[in-house]
């Protein structure tokens, strides 16, 4: 939850001509939008470019935001479609990036580096790494639910699917996350 003026209050100021007020919206949502973009592409520069495009598109279409849903839900819909468009242009595969293989390859490169990373043993590091091993769809739905403060119905709106489908996908994503954690972070899990 954000302190200070609500999103709708800031947006009305922007619509009345106070363009600088939009900076507050960007600051509030930049981390989330960037994180979602990173689910689609591991390249941070690309993810920043996507995130920047999302905010610019949202700004230009601000008049079409009717306020029937939360601004965050509307923004996240723009993020999803922008990410897919970007990847289509770059002709990258959107899902099933077998991040597990990437992780294993990196894992074997430098055992000293690996040992240093694993030594951190923090819950946050472990779960972030585990999420990074998931497919785009799984990572995105978990991020939308746990970090985006979106309900199942709102996530359904963002992803243009049924709410029941969201529930099933969320359940599967959690299951797959658990499997990844048990496979790659068994030692850390037992220490917690």
């Amino acid at each position: 939850m954000h302190t200070g003026p609500s999103d709708n209050e800031i947006l009305s100021r922007v619509l009345q001509g106070d363009q600088q007020a939009y900076a507050e919206i960007v600051k509030r949502y930049q981390a989330f939008v960037f994180t979602i973009a990173l689910r689609y592409t591991p390249n941070r520069e690309d993810a920043e470019e996507i995130a920047q495009d999302c905010f610019v598109k949202a700004f230009r279409s601000l008049s079409d935001f009717r306020g029937e849903s939360k601004f965050s839900t509307w923004l996240y819909t723009i993020v999803t479609t922008t990410c897919l468009t970007f990847l289509r242009k770059k002709k990258l595969e959107t899902s099933s990036l077998d991040n597990e293989k990437v992780f294993e390859a990196a894992d074997s490169l430098d055992s000293g580096f690996r040992a240093n990373q694993i030594e951190q043993k923090s819950r946050i590091t472990m779960v972030n790494k585990a999420i990074a091993l998931l497919s785009t769809d799984d990572a995105q739905i978990l991020t939308l639910f746990y970090k985006g403060e979106q309900s199942l119905e709102e996530i359904a709106q963002v992803l243009a699917i049924e709410a029941n489908t969201v529930k099933v996908r969320l359940h599967r994503a959690r299951q797959r996350l658990k499997e990844k954690m048990e496979k790659h972070f068994a030692a850390e899990l037992s220490d917690l």
Binding site: V14, Q30, K167
Partner: protein
């Protein structure tokens, strides 16, 4: 396995707070009395809390400034409802439908329905002697057909790309 899945699904709904009142009471009773349910609940709650503790990635320090510099070049587009009057669209649609219905009524009205039942139909044109190749020798017809083929291929490509993107997304 199905029972395990069922327990997990019900527990997740309970943890997410989307279970109905009766279901919630049933689960709470099971959690008090059933060791397997208690073990599973603790396991899933751990994952739930871990997910809550995950952090978002932060973009570069210049991100907000980059966005603001970018939007300074644009104006907010007017809402589509201000320049897209639905009444005009419905009016045009109604006009077209009325025209089509009118032509159909006129066409049927001109038809001599009493002429039915005559098996000796005299077509003034001998279809066997029509040289169809002359239709495709016309330059304008060829251009028209080429344009249609290109448009058709373009639409097919868009359709197939969309299907491929949907398949890879799943």
């Amino acid at each position: 396995m199905n029972t395990q899945q069922n327990i997990e699904e019900r527990l997740w709904s309970y943890i997410d707070g989307v279970s109905g009142v009766e279901e919630k009471s049933a689960i709470e009773e099971l959690l008090q009395s059933n060791l397997e349910w208690q073990r599973k609940y603790r396991e899933l709650l751990d994952i739930h809390e871990l997910l809550h503790s995950s952090e978002l990635e932060e973009p570069s320090m210049r991100f907000t400034r980059n966005v603001m510099e970018e939007i300074a070049r644009y104006q907010i587009a007017p809402a589509t409802k201000t320049y897209l009057n639905k009444r005009i669209i419905y009016g045009i649609g109604t006009f077209l439908v009325t025209m089509i219905i009118g032509f159909l009524i006129y066409g049927f009205g001109q038809t001599d329905w009493s002429a039915g039942g005559n098996t000796n139909v005299n077509i003034p044109v001998d279809l066997g002697k029509v040289d169809y190749t002359k239709f495709f020798n016309n330059t304008y017809v060829n251009i028209f057909m080429m344009v249609n083929i290109v448009l058709g291929l373009g639409l097919l490509d868009r359709f197939l790309s969309k299907k491929k993107a949907e398949r890879t997304a799943h």
